[in-house]
Symmetry: C2
Subunit: 273 residues, 2 copies
Amino acid sequence: MEHITSRRNETVRAVAALRSASARRKQQAFLCEGARLCADAAESGISIRSFFYTQKALQKYPQYLDTIRQHTAGKEYLLEPSVAQLLADTRNSQEIFCVCAFPNTADTTPESFLHRPAAGACLALEQLQDPANLGTVLRTAEALGINCVLLCGQCCDPFSPKALRGGMGAAFRLPLVHFSSFAAAAPLFHQAGWQTMAAVPDTNAEKVTKVDFSVPVIMAVGNEGNGLLPETVAACSRRVTIPMLGRAESLNASASASILMWEMMRGRGRNNG
Amino acid sequence: MEHITSRRNETVRAVAALRSASARRKQQAFLCEGARLCADAAESGISIRSFFYTQKALQKYPQYLDTIRQHTAGKEYLLEPSVAQLLADTRNSQEIFCVCAFPNTADTTPESFLHRPAAGACLALEQLQDPANLGTVLRTAEALGINCVLLCGQCCDPFSPKALRGGMGAAFRLPLVHFSSFAAAAPLFHQAGWQTMAAVPDTNAEKVTKVDFSVPVIMAVGNEGNGLLPETVAACSRRVTIPMLGRAESLNASASASILMWEMMRGRGRNNG
């Protein structure tokens, strides 16, 4: 264990850099904050490169630190509170941090996704902007048993501190695959045996309650303000909608996604038994 | 129209006070911010006591200001930008504000709720803490056609600036009734003909997919961290749960509420036709 007392320490500065998406891409790693979330990463099989805590955290969360230790050979560091501040994203930080490698990167390339036989239910998110929203959607996807989430176009980063917090660790376990364009990938999805569905706020589209979800499905959901790109809607084999009684514009992105995922899994009979 | 140039102006200071819940209770009014939200309040029949805008807003949102004017006899004020700052809750304020009276207060007392014959589907929220969450839930409730939302115990204020923003104006139209304790009111709900259901994360509870929602139902949903109070669960006639495949703790309060409301309305056949 190494004790870091200076805010200029190079190790800490490299770790603090992970708060930016470009540094995460470069280092192929992310920073995880909080006793429970760090222990969750460890138990989910995420490779922990190093971990950091203050004296206060050592006293307050000994079991969580033990869990982390049991699952990693990574180096550990004791930080002074002023140094821990450099890593903290929350106001009342628990002062426990892990540097984690991105999960299963080989299994979640677009190529590997397209080479596997189509099976189950996937959600595709297009250009989602709000990390807290993304976290919530991933958390719901995991809870409902969605098999995989495709992040399409310029989505915010699921490994940002805010998205990780909102996601309660879902990103550690749920396969996430990046596609630069849903529309461009759609013919390949179809070739691989997927049905693609565009979720649209259009009363003329098929009602989600009437759709057969027993086939392998990718449901595409758009972003908070603008919905799906027109080319994505055009590229999908079907258009589905959530029938509403009130104002159509009144479902936000994560509420829509929750209901759509619920219907996908409900229709599969897996939540129905 | 009066022009306010001083940040010490008494009218503005009284309006700025409405950012606190206690001032809202005392004045029986709330502050609404943003061109669209203010126009929405006006069109929803909310009584607008006065409204405020800057020169910039006057140029940028003339139609919205016209809408407000058409629906109110309230006084209007032109503010200097530095004065508008005192009222703004957002970083990039649109610099349009309305002081609004609470909606339909006579129809939404606990007594009037209990005197009406039970009919339709209500959601009861207990001790919800996060205003953005509350806003989202109200927005979803309106979209799905929930008839009324009961706010039980120490819930955050649906008329706070954050809750209003998240709710996209749902609080203007959706009847909201406050009960100091769900458990204490439950016998009265039953007497009035309501079925009460406690949403619990318990695999032994009735699956929400198996519940008959054709009767008048109040579904009670707990807060973000702790769920429902034990006495509330005990007071309800039934316990229902959302069947999940993933981690049970992984549905957050607003995702749970979305799915439960969806099932209530789906089961009613109203979203199914």
